[in-house]
């Protein structure tokens, strides 16, 4: 595997579904962050076959749990002084607004652009979010 140096202080977003790293990069606005960021795409994974990883050096002021909405299977490794101090799955929020968009062409949001795209967590185990308007499940 490609070798990227360890972090001293920051976060490793691991087990991102292969191809999903850029979506998370954009959500976190990482292009605006003045610190080291490594994006590893299609890394080998015993569990997933292929996965993406993002390593961020330095503090970021974002609710990392929101990342679970974009990919419910990713994991977060919080790192301080070069050691993993916490390794966890994101705690999925009950409701999210403006992070994901309803793709149902029959949904009212498809014709009324100003409506906020809001989703409710309906299945915690499977990480299923449903649009509050049309109730269609969000497909990652």
């Amino acid at each position: 595997m490609l070798n990227i140096g360890g972090l001293n202080h920051g976060v490793v977003i691991d087990h991102i579904a292969a191809g999903g790293a850029m979506k998370i990069y954009e959500y976190l606005n990482l292009e605006k962050l003045d610190c080291s960021v490594a994006i590893i795409k299609n890394a080998k994974s015993n569990k997933m076959g292929k996965k993406d990883i993002i390593k961020i050096e330095g503090p970021i002021q974002v609710d990392l749990d929101m990342l679970g909405v974009l990919d419910p299977n990713l994991t977060l490794d919080l790192i301080e002084d070069g050691k993993i101090i916490e390794k966890r799955n994101p705690n999925l929020p009950q409701q999210v607004t403006g992070i994901i968009r309803c793709k149902n062409p029959r949904c009212i949001t498809s014709i009324e652009q100003e409506l906020p795209h809001r989703f409710r967590l309906t299945n915690k185990e499977k990480g299923i979010y449903r649009c509050i308007y049309c109730e269609q499940a969000y497909k990652h």
Partner: protein, 304 residues
Amino acid sequence: MKHIISPLDLSTEELAGVLELAEKIMREPEKYSDCCRGKKLATLFYEPSTRTRLSFEAAMLNLGGSVLGFSSADSSSASKGESVADTIRVVSGYADICAIRHPKEGAPYVAATYSNIPIINAGDGGHNHPTQTLTDLLTMKHLKGRLDHLTIGFCGDLKFGRTVHSLINAMVRYPGSRFFLISPEELKIPTYLREEVLDAHHVPYEEVRILEEIMPELDILYMTRVQRERFFNEEDYIRLKDSFILDTVKMQYARPDMLVLHPLPRVNEISVEVDSDPRAVYFKQAHFGVYVRMALILTLLELN
């Protein structure tokens, strides 16, 4: 203030109250003929619907109230690009209660979010149609005397049929419900309904292809249309459609007290010769729709 956007917006207790009131109205309609004097129902129909709109209007007129509204998007400010939110904020000042039908799913939810008056969803695309479900429940309750321990066969298009999905959602809340799902492979119920509703509530159900085999088991047969446009090719449609047509021959397998329901409009899935069978109650069911809407209007206006 309460809105009815989904059939599940009423608890089983609240539902029992609405159905009981509907039955009281059926017994003594004159007693309720003046209850809504001075009240106005706005019917915002962004797509045409004959039965639902007339049924709502009849319900309000029977209660002594009046009705205003539009019956297609072309004749409303939607054609000028006005949002549902803005329309309902204006209409809230003109009427006391509102029934809204819209081709887009979730439009009534948006209306409810911005409304100062109770909103009733009169159908939003393929999503919800709660007053149809209430009509179905009143029909079963009134003619069978109960909503628990019923074996219901759903026949036809179970994939896209919103009336079927809503009724299944409503019936899993009653003890002893059991379902037979009779449909072509292409039109089986969606996976989410199987996993999140039927399996989650541990409701026994069986998916079958041949209607005659399970007819003797049924308390209720809920028929729906198998629409030609749902099939990929004409050949499949012609091959399958007859299996899901109810005729007098198939009715011979049914129990004497089984009831046939249909949300209407019927096309060819119930042969007209079945209409004269006393177990065919679909026209009665359509009439019950007015009573249940009367009961719902009274309940939401807190005049019950």
